[in-house]
């Protein structure tokens, strides 16, 4: 397991919003957590990255994760948050370069080339301000910036949010491709159908707990899941 979350509890003040979640990610696989708004998916991801304090155990590559966000980043984890959190007033290239802030200058140069090859659109617009990009381009930039840190585990929070269906497909295709370069992915999505299409394994989160878990293919066939999360799309 590249990531092993055991009995994770996360609270905002006294209100606990994630109640004892356990999940694992095998190297080179995509695991998705689907669920409605407010189920605690984002909180779960933020806690795994260290943005939010939590109780329970998080093991990365078999060892307990370090305390701080930057130490987790240096260890090979990277979060692409729901709001992307790009540096809007800076150029595309500066955003990418800063993504490799913790890496050496050589690694940064090398990875920048790789990212440009993966996202030719970003290369075309390297001098443009990040804030002026379209929604899909911004998501590409957020992914590219994350890849600049050379992660072995990507935590993706709603990469499809606010994007046109065709672009959602493109982005998720890119996500699926990342598996081939050995990046494991924890994908949090409201767009359950799209997420289950690309994922190897899936979990359904409701009110801070995982209700259904299993191979993504099976979850997509599960009547309870279909009724609640896929029914509308299937109709």
């Amino acid at each position: 397991m590249i990531l092993d979350v055991r009995d994770l509890h996360v609270a905002y003040g006294r209100a606990e919003v994630v109640h004892g979640v356990s999940l694992g990610i095998a190297p080179g696989t995509i695991v998705t957590v689907i669920g409605a708004n407010g189920a605690g998916k984002t909180t779960l991801l933020n806690a795994v990255m260290g943005l939010h304090p939590s109780r329970g155990q998080v093991l990365f590559e078999g060892r307990p994760v370090p305390e701080s966000v930057e130490a987790r980043l240096a260890a090979g984890m990277c979060l692409v948050p729901e709001r992307r959190e790009l540096f809007a007033a800076m150029s595309v290239e500066d955003n990418l370069v800063l993504g490799g802030f913790l890496r050496s200058a050589d690694e940064r140069r090398e990875t920048l080339e790789e990212v440009y090859q993966r996202f030719p659109r970003l290369k075309e617009r390297y001098r443009q301000q990040a804030g002026t990009l379209s929604g899909g381009e911004r998501q590409m930039l957020a992914l590219g910036r994350a890849l600049m840190s050379r992660p072995r585990l990507l935590l993706l929070d709603e990469p499809s949010l606010g994007l046109a269906p065709r672009i959602v497909r493109d982005i998720l295709q890119i996500v699926a491709d990342l598996r081939r370069i050995g990046v494991s992915i924890l994908l949090v999505e409201q767009n359950a159908r799209a997420a289950l299409d690309v994922a190897d394994e899936g979990h359904v989160m409701e009110l801070g707990q995982l209700r259904h878990s299993g191979p993504a293919r099976e979850l997509a066939q599960n009547p309870a899941v279909i009724e609640t999360y896929l029914g509308f799309h299937a109709a």
């Binding site: 966000v69 959190e85 800076m90 200058a105 840190s149």
Partner: protein
């Protein structure tokens, strides 16, 4: 008024304006990275000037002792901040940064003082005393408030200003001091005498502006500082420690303040509270440029200097009022141009 007087006034205004520009640049820098409107910037000028003057007079500068106290206070704050996850490495780093460094500076000044060091060495000693204070001030007063609103940060800045003013009185006393002029004669340019001192002021201002531009546009650390200013969460997610960015910004600001103090020390008599007025004029320039643009701040500061020089000729009683009134039309135009409700 004839042309010669006008030339004199312009020269005077440009020299003062260049000093205001340095302060304005430091304020823009601090605000961009930490959103702190750095009112105490002027105190660093006074500290720099008075420290150099005391060294010139052969007296042990009180700021060296103040540095030790500030370091110790920052150390306690740091220790409190680390109370939940104190490791040996962190403790060692804190001891080195907050206790050892000021002690070394104090010791060096104490050892070198009797030897009557040269001007260059005295300038270095002044900077060694003043510059680390920027980081300590950040650690004590502003880092604990990193997520507070601009208004809260402004109030804290006023508090720091008052504290540093009081400490300045304690350590320097109420009488004014003036440093020895920088060596080297000036030259005559028509009716004007251009002194080596004023040339140094222009040169340093230009260098600081170019240096800041290169730092922010070309270096990774500079970009990281800008990124922190634009999006703190984004900065954390790429591994930039926002506390480090803030510390660097304040240290740079203290360095610019100290250099400004060294530049003005031979030109004017500096009292413990002189810095505030100079700092406010730098602030006016920074505001005119929207607290955002380095070159804009320099242009505005030169304009402030020239207007002040002209005002002191035509209406010397009102020269401060004229300068500070400049801010009113600027704020009016800015608020009309930016439209309503621009919250961060």
């Amino acid at each position: 008024m004839d042309g010669t007087i006008l030339l004199f006034l312009l020269q005077d205004g440009l020299t003062n304006g260049a000093v205001y520009a340095l302060l304005g640049l430091a304020m823009v820098l601090v605000f961009a990275v930490t959103r702190v409107i750095f009112i105490p910037q002027g105190e660093f000028v006074a500290y720099g000037a008075l420290t150099l003057s005391m060294l010139d007079a052969g007296r042990f500068p009180g700021t060296a002792s103040l540095l030790v106290f500030a370091g110790a206070a920052a150390f306690l704050v740091e220790l409190w901040g680390l109370r939940h996850d104190l490791t040996a490495a962190r403790l060692l780093r804190a001891v080195a940064h907050y206790l050892l460094l000021p002690a070394l500076v104090w010791g060096a000044v104490w050892l070198l003082m009797p030897a009557a060091p040269g001007q260059f060495l005295k300038i270095l000693m002044t900077l060694a005393i003043v510059v680390p204070m920027g980081g300590y001030v950040y650690r004590i007063a502003f880092r604990p408030l990193a997520d507070a609103s601009v208004l809260v940060l402004l109030i804290a800045a006023v508090g720091v200003h008052l504290a540093m003013l009081g400490l300045g009185l304690v350590f320097f006393g109420a009488e004014g001091l003036r440093a020895d002029p920088v060596g080297g004669d000036g030259f005559e340019l028509g009716p004007l005498l251009v002194t080596a001192q004023s040339l140094a002021v222009y040169g340093v201002t230009l260098l600081v502006m170019i240096g800041l531009y290169l730092f922010f546009e070309r270096t990774l650390m500079g970009k990281a500082l800008r990124a922190t200013a634009i999006n703190r969460i984004g900065a954390r997610l790429v591994g930039i420690r926002t506390a480090l960015s803030g510390g660097i910004a304040f240290t740079l600001a203290a360095a610019i303040g100290g250099v400004s103090g060294i530049l003005i020390a031979p030109m004017t008599t500096v009292y413990y509270d002189t810095g505030f007025l100079i700092g406010l004029k730098g602030f006016v320039a920074a505001i005119i440029a929207g607290l955002a643009s380095f070159p804009g701040t320099v242009v505005a500061a030169l304009a402030v200097g020239i207007i002040e020089a002209l005002a002191s000729f035509f209406a010397s009683n009102f020269k401060e009022i004229v300068v500070f009134s400049l801010i009113i039309p600027v704020l009016l135009i800015r608020s009309l141009a930016s439209g309503p409700g621009e919250e961060e």
